[in-house]
């Protein structure tokens, strides 16, 4: 009987002392990312970036002494799963804010949940519908540039080069579709005619047919809007066909992996890329340079590969939330107000943000640099 009582006593003591130690309750941030499934190329760097920033802040002592915990839910690139994840994060885990989801569809799917529960969402997807109309998207922000901005960056270059007739080839996913709509919408403003509008599936093996059609239609440039293997296959086919017209890619092109996979076919491909991809080509006095340098070097040191455009999305959302937490503390509503009103000319990895009650994205076409592939590396297009 005695030893048992002793153990019980010891346990009691342990429990008591444990509760006396000021073990700080962590601040919980949620994230819904397409870690697996069709959009996993987005979720992977986004997740890594968040993990890295979390460890960095905790190593530096957390937020006012409280550690930060990030609960990352894999949405499997599926809207139903994303909704489930949002409910779990908001109601069970009681997170202060949510980062993600990675795709427009999933973001749209979780908006009602976030709005009902009054929790800020900073999406990593580009779709305009995510933050517009702002009145109905009170709790929703995003760090991904509008597709419109990337299109404008491309069209500005085209106009400069005197190209007026283009062929468009897009992937039949939400990403490609959003790009396709933006390309059509902006074309008249820049005096550009789309002479061919082709599409392909995310797992298609050969796009020669579509490119041949574009060429036959008399296009002076090809614009491909996709992410994943498709953009490499298009590049290879474009190269093999010796089309004699330049190939432009979307901002999804910004991964060294693509140059590697396409080999010499990638030479001369032009794309509007975020500065995170070409940070070492920036002048030293650029506002984003130092933070990008640290971000990319840290990332590469910890994970193989680069964070790329998509890592930058969650880098910025995570930094915004952390900054707001430091300033106003873990209050869902105050965090939202801070992000909306206090981020002016705020340098991030994806660009320089200016948030306001009428703009919950805060980026424009200046977030992009036009970049050309040369000798297997990125070069700023002059």
């Amino acid at each position: 009987m005695k030893p048992l009582r002793l153990i019980l006593g010891a346990l009691l003591l342990l429990v008591l002392t444990a509760s006396f130690v000021p073990a700080q309750e962590p601040i919980r941030i949620g994230a819904i990312l397409s870690v697996t499934g069709a959009a996993s190329f987005l979720g992977e760097p986004e997740k890594n970036t968040i993990l890295m920033l979390k460890d960095q802040i905790n190593k530096a002592g957390g937020i006012n002494g409280r550690p930060v915990e990030v609960i990352i839910e894999d949405s499997k690139s599926d809207e139903t799963q994303a909704v489930l994840a949002a409910k779990k994060l908001v109601e069970r885990d009681k997170v202060v804010a949510v980062i993600g989801p990675s795709t427009t569809g999933e973001s749209m799917a979780v908006i009602p949940t976030m709005t009902q529960n009054k929790v800020m969402l900073i999406s990593a997807a580009a779709g305009t519908g995510i933050t517009l109309p702002v009145k109905e998207r009170y709790w929703i922000f995003k760090t991904a540039q509008y597709d419109m901005s990337a299109v404008e960056a491309i069209y500005t270059t085209l106009k400069k080069k005197g190209i007026a007739k283009i062929g468009v080839i897009t992937i039949t996913t939400g990403y490609g579709d959003a790009g396709r709509k933006a390309l059509h919408e902006m074309a008249p403003k820049y005096g550009i005619t789309i002479v061919a509008d082709e599409r392909y599936g995310p797992k298609d093996a050969d796009m020669t047919t579509q490119l041949t059609k574009i060429k036959a239609a008399g296009a002076q440039a090809v614009i491909n809007w996709s992410v994943g293997p498709g953009q490499v296959v298009v590049t290879k086919n474009w190269h093999a066909l010796k089309m004699g017209i330049p190939l432009y890619q979307s901002h999804g092109w910004g991964s060294k992996k693509n140059i590697e996979l396409a080999g010499k076919a990638a030479e001369g491909v032009i794309a509007p890329l975020g500065r995170v991809v070409v940070w070492n080509k920036l002048p030293d006095n650029h506002v984003q340079k130092s933070l990008l340098k640290k971000f990319v070097t840290d990332y590469t040191a910890r994970f193989k590969g680069e964070p790329g455009q998509f890592g930058a999305h969650t880098y910025d959302s995570m930094q915004m939330i952390l900054e707001a937490l430091k300033k106003v503390g873990p209050d869902r509503s105050k965090l939202r107000d801070y992000v909306e009103n206090n981020l002016k000319k705020w340098p991030g990895a994806g660009g320089v943000y200016t948030m306001s009650p009428t703009d919950h994205c805060g980026l424009d076409k200046n977030a992009f640099e036009m970049v050309v592939v040369k000798n297997g590396d990125w070069m700023l297009l002059k």
Partner: protein
Amino acid sequence: MTREHGIALLILAALVLAIPSIVTDSYVMTLMIFSGINAIAAIGLCILMGSAGQVSLGQAGFYGIGAYASSVLSQSFGLPVPACMAGAAIVSALAAVILAVPSLRLKGHYLAVATLGFGEIVYIVLNEFGPGGPSGFGDIPPLSFAGVAITEPAHVAWTVWGFLLLVLVFSLNLLNARPGRALRALHGSETACSAMGLDIVRLKIKVFVLSAVYASIAGSLYAHYVTFISPSSFSFFHSVLLLMMVVLGGITTVWGGVIGAVIITLLPETLKSFEELDVLAYGLILTLSLLFLRRGIVPIVIDKFRTSERGHA
């Protein structure tokens, strides 16, 4: 309907009524809602396969038609949600007739591929011509009845599981009456059925339509609950998922569809802790359950129960 089915239904009804007091966590509630939605579609597939012996790899097509048709009707024409769901069910039924009339000449794998082709065509059409294209569209009116919106999770759960109960009662009634017996007979011997004067083709078309209507109801509920839909939720993978639910739960009874749907819906959530390996774990669990529970969970449990009962008597 036999007494056992009646008792099971009563228990289920009691559980459904008690949902708000059992489930307080809205995340679990959401899981319940999705399970219920999947179960409605799975029951249709159960009757189609287990009773009439037809395989469909295109059930997600009807699910998608139900979701899109109902959403468009309610969003663009402002019709009340129940009317939209009924309208969507009619559209799905028509699609089912169009598919069934030529396909039912086909047997086994050929029929499977015809339904697969149908599902893919629906997916492509939604992708190309659906409102919002591949990106989908949102702001779909929420579930409502007589003008009162149903958005409270517990109320949505009641609605979904209420539909599920209705579908179950309807199905059990049907299966234990003239048409249902004919369907089960069809599974046993088509030769004998024709000698008994059964019009096999019409029966098959009707059961196909029935399964399409169930899938359509499920799709409509999904759309009005999530209020955002895109084609990716209605792809081939969802057809396979529904098939997996039915086979795992057991195709010989509609309860198999319900249990299978709940398990398949909950499984990925419980595997989250495996992180990177969750796909692998999911696949392994499916493989093992199919290997060891090949007749399906519900039939095996029922048999166990019956033998033990007999053992005691």
